[in-house]
Symmetry: none
Subunit: 175 residues, 4 copies
DNA sequence: CATGAATGAGCGTTCATTCAT
DNA sequence: GATGAATGAACGCTCATTCAT
């Protein structure tokens, strides 16, 4: 998985399986002992990365406190993961837009995001978009997160500032 | 171009050039009379689609009137283009994330978006994100547009409603 | 023909016919009005070049005089042609080893060389190789001519010297 | 290598790699496991054939004895190789005039011919062509060898006679 | 279970030749 | 007769996958 992540970042999804195997230090044949096809490897990797991202975001939510503070805690976790794992993030981005991801895999990805989704749902239900479908809100959250990550990575000195600005823009959009 | 757009939507960027040629009703060799390589075809198509999208968005901006109304006019144009040209939109999305797009092509794409970029800049300069980099704002605008388009397409009955809701969320985020 | 000669020198026999046509200032289709196939163009060019070479070699043979002097006159003509027409010589060399030359073309080439062949035959008949087949002698003459040409071209300052040395080596070989 | 040699003789250098692979009894893809490109296969084959030819020529030179006898021994070896390996000879001839041979390959070929070159140099230094460049002599030797080979192959009954006649003509030319 | 050579279908691209204008 | 766009067969090369060892 680690090898595949690295290779996807440098060579894209069209990288030969042999390259991934070499990067992982195994033979090209061994790869197919564990994954029936290249597509299956990618599907599993997608799930692993998405789950890892969700888990990182949900870590250590303050039990009490205001909802907005909880949300900001999650948002910060999420941004921190992105900054700390740029390769995982980029590989995940590539996998997300690939048409090799099966419906089952996408469903699994959503399941892994369940905890986050519930928080978003709470946002939606009591905010300005209370009449919009949940997926609309999720999409907005996702894309504002991506935009914020980009600028934290590009301008690391002001990462904390961008993190906060992104959150506040999102909060305004939703309330 | 039309054939390439259709084929990209159904088969992705890895579709054989022969398929595109057949869809266009020409021989496989003829394609290379007009485009030196597959990558060049994709680069030109990206520019064409991006320019078309930008032109559609900027059509008929009311000269006078409030800035917010002008923005909403552009936003509506943009959403209308997306709903009316789902294939173009999907092909453009795939091309946008492809690493086959050259720097020159991306630069050309940005140039085509210049009119839109200027409007966004006016939003940024006097709004809550006045201290954020322009590209941050552009990314937010883009992604909220994408989210809105998705839900207009998925739920066409309430398209006008989603269009308005998306715009308002964006406006809140920026002000 | 001139265009084909130039193109063969710079790009070899695998040069596209379109390149030859462009060099000749005609359309790619026109080429096939005058030559049914690429191979036919090459066969005709071979004949033209070979005939031109033979004619150049035989020009102005002194009627009387010693046989050796006549031979040297021809040899000098031949070398002069090679030095003056390096492109023709190189194109002819490439055509000569090509398997696209038909038997008829090769026969025609020999016919064009008839005058030279008769001189060689006189050499053979009264020299050391009088028992060897004529073609053996012809091959030796040809290849010593090629060797001499190479060094006249590479070292033009001493061209006359190389010309003479080559002739004398040949004369020794044959007598 | 053997398969490539055979195929080059029958179909020339433009033979499809698939034909060579089939002749070798392997799949078309396997060929590229061992040679990165068709050109590399040809370059390696050239070196192998040239080295083999040189080695055959230099085999068992009589240590003592007259220089002329040593030369004739080498000449005979050389001619014997040509008669025994007509396919190798023809493939080598085609490869030698191909512009796909790299400078490095030609340099390697010359290195393999070093032993022969030294003998030729001794001929040159004390013969009639002592003032001519070495490459001139080498070219003459080569081409008289080729002429002799041709006639040994065409008239095998008198092969030994042609071999001797060729050598003597060469010896006269050089002395 | 690990290995890595072998496989062969598939693709992008070229180019001799044709033919409607 | 000239043109040059169109044609499509052919080729070099790649790579996911298999399987004998």
């Amino acid at each position: 998985m680690k090898a595949a992540t690295r290779v996807i970042v440098t060579e894209g999804l069209s990288a030969p399986t042999a390259t991934i195997a070499r990067e992982a230090g195994v033979s090209s044949g061994s790869l197919f002992t564990y994954f029936d096809t290249k597509a299956e490897l990618f599907n599993q990797l997608y799930l692993e990365l998405k789950s890892g991202m969700a888990a990182a975001a949900l870590e250590g939510i303050p039990a009490g406190g205001k909802f907005r503070d909880q949300m900001f805690h999650v948002w910060s976790n999420w941004m921190r993961w992105a900054v700390a794992s740029p390769e995982k993030r980029r590989a995940l981005a590539q996998l997300s837009v690939s048409d090799q991801m099966t419906a089952a895999t996408r469903a699994g990805g959503n399941k892994a995001m369940k905890g986050l989704a519930e928080l978003m749902e709470r946002c939606r239900a009591k905010g300005a978009l209370r009449d919009a479908p949940m997926a609309f809100v999720a999409s907005i959250v996702n894309s504002m997160a991506e935009a914020t990550m980009d600028f934290m990575v590009q301008d690391p000195t002001n990462a904390a500032k961008h993190c906060k600005a992104g959150f506040e823009a999102l909060w305004r959009a939703l309330n």
